[in-house]
């Protein structure tokens, strides 16, 4: 037992040395966990932020100007005034997502109680913002007109007040979401490629074969790879969470960071095992690259971290339950935003561990044969 642990430790340390010895890998690792996370979180938002709006003001009244001025950062860019003939062109080229057309006589009609019509054009190919943007714009226009009428003392009161509050993320700030999801995504891509490619490299260089004639078992070699590569990613993710996400991006972390790291460790076990599994299936590095892409792209896009899980067809939701990333995304959301503790997230942790064990067992079964036959 002691000897086994010692073997695993020794082989893992060797693994750490290999990664650190490759400057390109080290640089990419740093880039991915700092700059890439910052840029994605800060600038590629899934909420209404910085949305581009144009106004065709055919009324030129006080009210139309008030509406135009009501589009405020951070939700909207300042509204740009364009002419009616420019609508099509500017929307075709994606210059504006929303174009509001205020007809002539709008204010006058409103004051005379005629309920004038205002047109909002929305680029419905911008799926992530079109829907929510539309309701924002409706709210803005409504409240501006109500204020305008209130000032003239002709407002109506609603019979009840529905107050919608967002828990865990009161301003529905997607920087929070994107930052954490980007860490999750990067963890997936890096852990899988790092472990899998390291195995293929060892196979191509014949070093793994050498290990197999020594008193070291396949399981020990694999566990060493899992812990060493997992360790690098856990440290990188932990540092990134502390310094980039909490520090630079000022995202408050509701739950326990230790619990998050514990979950990350389990997740990395499953992902690094998957990396090894893929490496036992590929015969060469080019094949591994092609094999890895669909796997991590699917794991990233369909984990519920990009678009909501509920929106997928049931069959696909069922399939995605087999992906550890699905459980890790829901685990991370629960811990980091909702401050959930282990009593709530243990099912996800258990599932990830179970999936990891399956990957590990299958790779172990294939390992020896794959190493010797493909080299």
């Amino acid at each position: 037992m002691l000897q086994r642990t010692a073997n695993i430790f020794r082989l893992g340390v060797k693994e750490l040395r290999s990664v650190l010895a490759d400057p390109v890998l080290a640089i990419l690792l740093v880039w991915t966990f700092t700059f890439a996370i910052y840029e994605v979180a800060q600038n590629a938002k899934m909420e209404i932020s910085n949305a581009s709006v144009a106004i065709v003001d055919e009324d030129r009244s006080e009210l139309s100007r008030r509406i135009q001025d009501a589009f405020l950062p951070p939700y909207f860019k300042p509204a740009v005034e364009i002419s009616g003939s420019e609508i099509d062109r500017s929307m075709d080229t994606g210059k504006f997502i929303f174009v509001i057309d205020i007809p002539p006589g709008f204010e006058a009609d409103l004051l005379s109680g005629r309920k004038p019509e205002i047109q909002v054009n929305i680029d419905a190919t911008a799926m992530s913002v079109a829907g929510t943007g539309a309701s924002y714009i409706q709210t803005i226009i409504t409240s501006e007109t109500l204020d305008f009428l209130n000032a003239r003392g002709s407002a109506t009161q609603l019979p009840l007040d529905v107050v919608v509050r967002a828990s865990f993320n009161p301003n529905l700030n997607s920087t929070w979401f994107m930052a954490v999801m980007q860490i999750v995504n990067n963890v997936t891509v890096l852990a899988m490629i790092l472990t899998g490619a390291a195995l293929i490299r060892e196979r191509e260089h014949g070093t793994i074969e050498h290990l197999l004639v020594m008193p070291v078992t396949s399981a020990q070699i694999m566990i060493a790879k899992v812990w060493a590569n997992g360790f690098i990613i856990v440290v990188a993710a932990g540092l990134s969470l502390t310094f980039v996400v909490q520090g630079l991006l000022q995202v408050p972390i509701a739950g326990s960071k230790a619990l998050f790291i514990a979950g990350a460790v389990i997740y990395l076990f499953s992902i690094t095992s998957l990396g090894i599994l893929l490496a036992t299936m590929a015969r060469s590095m080019p094949q591994f690259g092609l094999l890895a892409i669909p796997v991590f792209v699917v794991m990233e896009l369909l984990s519920g971290g990009t678009t909501p899980m509920e929106s997928m067809p049931d069959w696909l939701q069922t399939i995605m339950q087999a992906s550890p990333s699905t459980h890790y995304v829901s685990f991370s959301q629960a811990v980091l935003y909702r401050g959930a503790w282990i009593d709530i997230v243990w099912p996800q942790m258990l599932t990830m561990a179970a999936i990891g064990c399956v990957f590990f067992a299958v790779s172990l079964f294939r390992f020896r044969k794959a190493i010797v036959n493909f080299s």
Partner: protein, 914 residues
């Protein structure tokens, strides 16, 4: 520098360093023309570097190199020389393409030299005839024996009638019969073309005896030149091997001891290794065919044969690395069990290639292995010190193996193999490529191990002098053992003067037509007009040379069904998954109510929620903390809390408050849910007012008409599937090309770029074309899928989309080539492509987030990538109904990317090795 007509190459004060290690140290030499000139000397003394400099495949660092009466520093002269110099790199079939057939390999080289179809056909026919390869033009190069590979390599080198033929260790690892045939072939070619100069590096001194002129090299210096007889008389020795040792500097010579193998004394008759009918098949190829032998304890048993004859496979079966297809292997009288750790402790193995960790130092490697063999702590240090001493590794203990000469690396590998004091050593060609002195040193260690410590040694080699030192040897060819016995007995049995002759005799007997000897035809009915044609060289872009690369790359791709399947089926499967999976259509949100009022009014309000198709109601919440707990677990996406007294207050007109708690963890979903909730509430208010007063009350004083343009139904499919085309047409094509160039670097075929007239642009474009074609085929299949399966109509112009896609895949495959041109390993290429292509494409291309809302660095990063421009074209032509007039600027950008990636990759790629 004068152009002495009698020298084919002149080097003056040439120094060449790799890092801190000088491969050539101020070398000046003139190599005579029109003869066979040889470079002899150990591995790592700079022979290969010198040849590469003469051939122009390596950049000159310091000093001057003239070849064929011109300065090799001069680009124009080098270009001129590509057609006059042929370079065959070290390593069996190193510059050949294993999946291409013999004919296709030759055809590829002929095209690189600009030969027209008829001429190619004629020349290839002649060469195949002359080398005896004619019967199997369709056999893939990867499936040839070592000897045949080298013959093919020679054919490829001779395809353009070179004036200077440069051969870097052409016969290393080739069986003795093939080796003889190879030199006979060279002799016939020289008889036919007496003016051709041949420069050869070799590790075999017996071959060098036949050369006209020799330069002996040591440690980056030339220590002597002259004909073999001159060298021998100068040193008063009778063999070249002895002469070479005499020529070495004093401190090295003194280390050398003549090897004497003491007789084995007393055997216990026990067997250490027994093989009975051992057979290994890979598919329909039998690598090892019914091999049997027994090795006694303490014996040195030699395994002799060419590369690829099954030696390595047999050894791997004996270590348990490979399971045998048939037969039995026994170690220490027990059937071999690969999982038996105890047996592994008794065996030491050294594989053919260096298989220790290059990133660890010599000492770290030893320590790691000491730990893995669980040497007790108190013995570990002593043992390592002892080995460092005994194997003379003390001075280099903190160096990384990559910087050490092969001989030292092999000593290290042997040290590691015997670290745990095994009883059996299995050594796979441990002295291949090692210089004579280091080889003798190595053998001295082996003899000590065997005679003093009783270690059984099973060693494979292709050196006859080493074989003669073994107690017994087995001759192997094409998977079969031809003979087993003591070296002298085998020679006697064939009445041969030497073991070499005996082996040739056994080989000739074994080969009955499978690999015919070269017929006695003369090579290359060279026609002067053809030469004149070929020798016209120009640096202008040649379609033919580009096409040579394109068709070669395409053939390789078509013969790799796994890559092909990923390239074509992968995107289709992903498109189906994403088309259904990536959806912004938020529906069926699970929610629960905490109704503290339970009045008629509250139930009426809540009914509006439960009847909405957007929501799915779960078990109601019954206790105060329930809202938070259930939101926390992620089970609910929102919860509605109706306070007690709601109904009463509502009827009184006191504007009661209803609280809705959203899960804000996923902002997009929360925002959308908020919109739905507001909609449901507004509906409730309108209904209530209708019930009470008979007319609906309006929440808003204005009527807001929302027009969802391009996608009236506001379905994700219409926006996501065209985006998926964008995504898939970058990730997969870029990944396919990304390993293209690094792989050639790792496999060695990049030499053909260095040594033939092909230009960097021809090379890049030629390699890129097949991938553009396959990516475009994939694009067409995705379009069909989008239109038929997802029923997304193409509202705009198909030509705009089709042209855009062509430019796009040009740019994306170009991106992969660019990555490939500057990284050094395949692993880095895959890593870099995955990260660099994925992050901007997913996030900054407009796929998920509209480009117009991006800010800061994201905007810049997005704009510097081709993805957003094709996103415009794809979504524009599918969903927005646009055509060229609206989209042309995107086409222009894509063309710009394609061109820039191409030019930058050209810039990074080198036409010479550094």
């Amino acid at each position: 520098m004068s152009d002495a007509p009698d020298s084919v190459a002149q080097l003056t004060a040439v120094t060449h360093k790799y890092g801190d290690v000088a491969a050539l140290d101020d070398v000046s030499v003139e190599i005579p023309s029109g003869c066979m000139a040889g470079l002899i000397g150990p591995d790592g003394v700079g022979k290969s570097t010198l040849l590469a400099l003469i051939s122009g495949v390596r950049t000159i660092q310091a000093g001057s190199v003239h070849a064929l009466s011109g300065d090799m520093h001069d680009k124009r002269h080098r270009r001129h020389c590509f057609n006059r110099i042929a370079y065959m790199p070290q390593g069996l079939g190193k510059n050949l393409y294993p999946t291409l057939s013999i004919y296709e390999n030759l055809d590829f080289f002929a095209r690189l030299f600009g030969q027209a179809s008829q001429e190619r056909h004629r020349r290839i026919g002649e060469l195949l005839e002359a080398t005896g390869l004619a019967p199997f033009p369709d056999r893939p190069a990867g499936k040839l024996s070592g000897g045949m590979k080298q013959k093919l390599g020679l054919c490829c080198a001779l395809i353009h009638d070179p004036d200077l033929l440069v051969l870097d260790e052409p016969t290393t690892g080739v069986d003795p019969l093939s080796r003889r045939q190879f030199w006979q072939l060279i002799d016939r070619i020289r008889a036919r073309r007496p003016n051709m100069s041949v420069v050869v590096a070799t590790a075999y001194m017996d071959e060098a005896e036949e050369f006209d002129w020799l330069a002996a090299m040591d440690d980056g210096n030339i220590i002597a030149t002259g004909s073999p007889s001159e060298l021998k008389s100068k040193t008063s020795t009778d063999t070249l091997e002895a002469a070479f040792i005499q020529l070495l500097p004093e401190h090295k010579r003194s280390r050398h001891k003549h090897i004497v193998v003491p007789q084995r004394t007393g055997t216990d008759g026990q067997f250490a290794i027994q093989a009975t009918g051992l057979t290994k098949r890979f598919g329909d190829f039998t690598a090892v065919d019914n091999v049997s032998f027994d090795i006694e304890r303490g014996e040195i048993f030699g395994f002799l044969g060419s590369n690829g004859c099954g030696k390595t496979t047999t050894m791997k079966m004996l270590t348990g690395l490979l399971p045998a297809s048939a037969g039995e292997a026994r170690l220490f009288n027990r059937k071999l069990n690969a999982r038996d750790m105890q047996t592994r402790r008794r065996v030491g193995y050294m594989s053919q290639s260096f298989s220790l960790y290059g990133e660890l130092t010599v000492l770290q490697n030893l320590v790691l292995h000491a730990h893995l063999f669980h040497l007790p702590d108190d013995q570990r240090e002593d043992r390592i010190t002892e080995l460092l001493q005994r194997f003379d590794l003390h001075d280099v203990q903190d160096n990384k193996p990559a910087s050490l000469p092969l001989g030292v690396k092999q000593r290290l590998q042997l040290a590691v193999a015997i670290l745990h004091q095994p009883e059996v050593l299995i050594l796979d060609e441990p002295t291949s490529g090692v210089d004579p002195i280091a080889r003798d040193d190595f053998w001295q260690l082996l003899i000590e191990l065997s005679r003093d410590e009783g270690v059984t040694i099973f060693i494979s080699t292709h050196f006859m002098n080493e074989a003669s030192r073994c107690d017994r040897i087995s001759l192997m060819h094409a998977g079969k053992v031809l003979a087993v016995g003591a070296p002298q007995d085998l020679a006697d049995a064939r009445q041969a003067a030497s073991l070499d002759d005996a082996f040739v005799a056994y080989l000739e007997e074994a080969i009955t037509g499978s690999e015919p000897d070269a017929p006695d035809t003369t090579v290359g009915a060279e026609t002067t007009d053809a030469v004149a044609d070929v020798h016209q060289s120009s640096g202008a872009f040649s379609i033919r040379r580009m096409w040579a690369y394109a068709s070669r790359e395409a053939k390789e791709l078509l013969r790799d069904p796994i890559r092909l399947a990923f390239a074509l089926l992968g995107p289709i499967i992903l498109m189906v998954t994403f088309g259904y999976g990536i959806s912004f259509d938020v529906e069926e949100l699970p929610y629960a109510v905490y109704d503290q009022d339970k009045s008629h009014e509250s139930r009426q309000l809540l009914e509006n929620f439960s009847s909405s198709r957007y929501f799915v109601e779960r078990q109601p919440i019954t206790e105060p903390g329930g809202v938070e707990t259930r939101l926390k677990s992620g089970e609910l996406k929102f919860a509605i809390e109706v306070p007690s007294g709601f109904g009463k207050n509502l009827l009184k007109g006191e504007q009661p408050e209803v609280g809705v708690w959203l899960d804000g963890a996923m902002p997009f979903r929360a925002e959308t849910a908020r919109g739905y909730i507001q909609g449901v509430t507004a509906q409730y208010i309108a209904d209530m007012s209708t019930r009470q007063s008979g007319r609906p009350v309006s929440v808003s004083p204005v009527s807001i008409e929302t027009r969802f343009r391009y996608n009236q139904a506001f379905k994700s499919t219409y926006a996501i599937t065209p985006g998926c085309i964008m995504l898939l047409c970058i990730l997969i094509p870029a990944m396919m090309t990304a390993v293209g160039i690094v792989r050639e670097k790792e496999m060695g075929s990049i030499t053909n770029l260095y040594s033939t007239p092909v230009t960097r642009m021809e090379f890049l474009l030629g390699k890129q074309l097949p991938y553009i074609a396959i990516a475009y085929a994939s694009f067409i299949s995705l379009c069909v899928l989008v239109m038929l399966v997802f029923a997304v109509p193409l509202k705009g112009s198909f030509p705009a989309l089709a042209v855009g896609a062509l430019l796009y895949v040009w740019a994306t495959t170009g991106f992969g080539m660019l990555v490939s041109s500057f990284v050094n390993s395949q692993i880095a290429a895959i890593f870099a492509t995955a990260i660099l292509a994925m992050i901007p494409t997913m996030n900054f291309s407009g796929f998920m987030t509209p480009v117009s809302t991006l800010g800061g660095g994201a905007k810049v990063m997005g704009a510097m990538f081709p993805a957003p421009y094709f996103q415009q074209i794809s979504v524009g032509s599918f969903t927005k109904g646009l055509s060229f007039p609206d989209l042309w600027s995107n086409h222009l950008y894509l063309a710009g990317f394609g061109m820039s990636f191409f030019l930058i990759a050209t810039f990074f790629l080198r036409k010479q090795d550094v």
